[in-house]
């Protein structure tokens, strides 16, 4: 653990996919930091590279066609990109775990849930069969699965979606990870169940001092859970701030657009505003600022130079922004 409380720091991470169409720059220079014990929310539209970033961190980019081509992923003082596959296997599920969007398919259908949790525990903690089973029951109890002694021998198809996501969380938590990557953990669930799952993650986090990297496209979820927020667009972070600062004073035209498109943030009686256009293809990003094709403030400068991610002067600490017109954006 580095002394400054940083658990995870991404520096210029680049992950490209190669296909016959060419090179898709899915993640193209991503920087963000996750402090120990905190939650970092990563928001952005589908295809902006938020999931690919997370998969790059845990080393699960399918290769071929994908490849991490540059940057550094600092985790507890080590650059994860330099570790061997074997070293990564020891970290995965143990120090870094991950839960996914689709609890319906993320569990192996032909093994009992107990079996799958026990596998994780035995992989990393070297427990005996009986101890591992006890641990699995504890974990199921921890995620509030009723009657865990009986449920442990059930198969995934016997559980509801919310229950399965709880099982996924139990599995992810079974080795007390330092970092939990949650990739859209509530997207596939009912709204009431969503709240329960978020509450559960928050509750577990406060008990264990674990950090959470929460990937979502739902700003409401971010508002409820995140300490810091990274807004991603077209493979880059365009704005990074504390949740408080971001919600109080979003500065990037894209972030502002995201808020405008939500009913919660629009003035009463006002129409919701969609961001015009679509996310550019990762094969052909526009020159300069990648958002300029959809941006109301776009100028010639935006097409010429790509705005760097720099601190915003008149905002809270650590608020960074990649826009040539930080002042003008305030007037939007």
């Amino acid at each position: 653990m580095s002394a400054d409380g940083k658990l995870l720091e991404l520096q210029g991470l680049r992950t490209y996919f190669y296909s016959e169409e060419g090179e898709a720059r899915a993640v193209d220079g991503v920087d963000y930091t996750l402090m120990k014990g905190e939650t970092l929310g990563v928001v952005g539209e589908s295809g902006c590279g938020k999931s690919v970033t997370a998969l790059s961190v845990i080393g699960l980019i399918p290769s071929p066609p994908g490849k991490v081509v540059g940057g550094k992923v600092w985790f507890k003082g080590r650059n994860l990109l330099e570790l061997s596959e074997k070293e990564m296997q020891e970290i995965r599920g143990n120090e870094i775990s991950m839960i996914f969007q689709e609890p319906m398919t993320a569990l192996n259908p032909v093994y009992t849930i107990g079996n799958q949790i026990i596998e994780t525990v035995r992989l990393h903690q070297g427990l005996g069969k009986e101890e591992a089973r006890q641990r699995a029951i504890e974990m199921l109890d921890l995620v509030h699965i009723p009657n865990p002694e009986a449920r442990i021998d059930e198969y995934p198809h016997q559980l509801s979606g919310g229950m399965r996501q709880r099982v996924m969380i139990a599995m992810a938590m079974s080795c007390d990870p330092d970092l939990l990557i949650a990739d859209e953990p509530t997207t596939a669930l009912d709204v009431t169940v969503q709240a329960q799952i978020l509450e559960l993650i928050g509750d577990l986090q406060s008990r264990t001092d674990m950090s959470v990297l929460l990937i979502t496209h739902d700003l409401g979820v971010i508002a409820e859970t995140a300490n810091h927020v990274a807004v991603m667009y077209a493979g880059k972070v365009v704005e990074y701030a504390t949740a408080v600062d971001l919600f109080a004073k979003p500065r990037h035209p894209y972030t502002i657009g995201l808020f405008r498109s939500l009913p919660d943030f629009a003035a009463p009686g006002e129409r919701l505003q969609a961001i015009p256009g679509i996310v550019p293809s990762a094969f052909r990003f526009p020159s300069g600022c990648r958002f300029r094709t959809r941006c109301p403030l776009a100028s010639e400068q935006c097409a010429r130079e790509e705005p760097p991610l720099v601190p915003v002067e008149d905002s809270g600490e650590g608020h960074t922004l990649a826009c040539h017109f930080p002042e003008e954006a305030l007037g939007l």
Binding site: P64, G93, S97, A106, N108, T120, H157
Partner: protein, 339 residues
């Protein structure tokens, strides 16, 4: 589980009755006795033959009599089993001795079945085991190295292997592996053709056909299994398994293989009836007296009782294997509930 099996068996009874009805009707479209005896046969001989098989009786009576023969397993009886049933002679004695073949004097259907099933199975079963084992391993390796050189090499050879005709393998196998090897090296390892019973003779007579059959089937199977594996390797639970730190080998053999077994079992089970029936081509070319040849011979020689009984037996085996497939499904896939 057992109630499920029992229920499935009960359900298949009407199906089987229908099959038998159809079979008997089809075989009677052209008069089987006239076909066997030919045009020059006398009226007396014709009538005698007809009566000996009970073909002069009404169809319904014949139908139930045939079912009786199936249910009481009379079809596997052989003549040297002593007659104890009845003293009043005639038909009763004849029937309790089993069903006599027309073309092979003095032999019964039971004898033909018993004698031909061993040669058939001693080729088909080892061939299935070899094929299954080798092609699953190749498919796993191929899926593991997907898109890379080993995968491409294996798939090219699989396509090559399956593109060559069965007959080419048989002819070249017989010529090179059996004939030339015997000539040049004076090695009597493979027989060019023929069959003798006994385990000691197995390699000599059966290994070559088994190998040929394996090579031919491997191309298709490897490609199918690889497709299954590749599909499974793209599933979400594989990423979950990787995310929890499983090793690649464990993911393949523990997580993927059990899921892949579901389609694999379907394919293997669908070949089960043909295990008993044997490979007609191989049996013809290697002169092996198996079931496939027995059936073919009976058809060519108008041996009505043998044809009728063999087809009925195969149909039964087919039905049983369908039920077995479902039972195996339930064993592998917990989502299938047999209740």
């Amino acid at each position: 589980m057992w109630t499920y099996i029992l229920r499935r068996l009960l359900y298949s009874i009407p199906v089987y009755l229908g099959i038998v009805l159809l079979l008997m009707a089809c075989l009677r479209v052209n008069d089987p006795v006239a076909g066997f005896l030919g045009k020059g046969a006398s009226e007396e001989a014709y009538q005698a033959k007809k009566e000996s098989m009970g073909l002069d009786r009404p169809f319904v009576v014949q139908y139930f009599d045939f079912l009786r023969q199936l249910v009481t397993f009379e079809f596997i009886k052989v003549p040297d089993e002593e007659v104890t049933a009845s003293e009043d002679g005639g038909a009763a004695v004849l029937r309790s001795r089993g069903i006599e073949s027309w073309s092979q004097e003095g032999r019964t259907v039971g004898q033909i079945l018993r004698e031909s099933i061993i040669p058939s199975i001693s080729i088909t079963v080892p061939a299935l085991c070899f094929t299954l084992l080798i092609s699953i391993v190749i498919a796993l390796l191929s899926a593991y190295y997907r898109g890379r050189l080993p995968d491409k090499l294996m798939m090219v050879s699989a396509v090559l292997g399956m593109s060559i005709s069965f007959l080419v393998y048989i002819i070249f196998g017989q010529y090179w592996a059996a004939y030339l090897l015997n000539q040049k090296l004076e090695l009597e390892f493979f027989a060019v053709q023929g069959y003798e019973p006994g385990a000691a003779n197995w390699a000599h007579y059966c290994l070559l056909p088994v190998l040929i059959s394996t090579i031919v089937a491997m191309g298709y199977d490897t490609r199918f299994y690889r497709a299954v594996m590749v599909e499974e390797s793209g599933r979400d639970y594989i990423i979950t398994a990787r995310a929890k730190g499983s090793t690649k080998r464990k993911i393949m053999f523990v997580h993927m293989l059990k899921n892949a077994m579901i389609p694999i079992i379907t394919r293997v089970m669908s070949t089960l009836p043909f295990l008993v029936m044997g490979s007609i081509l191989l049996e013809m070319y290697f002169n092996i007296p198996g079931m496939g040849r027995a059936l073919l011979d009976s058809i060519f020689s108008n041996d009505f009782p043998v044809t009728q009984m063999l087809v009925a037996v195969f149909a039964g085996i087919f039905l049983v294997s369908v039920i077995l497939t479902d039972v195996f499904y339930a064993l592998v896939d917990p989502r299938v509930r047999l209740s």
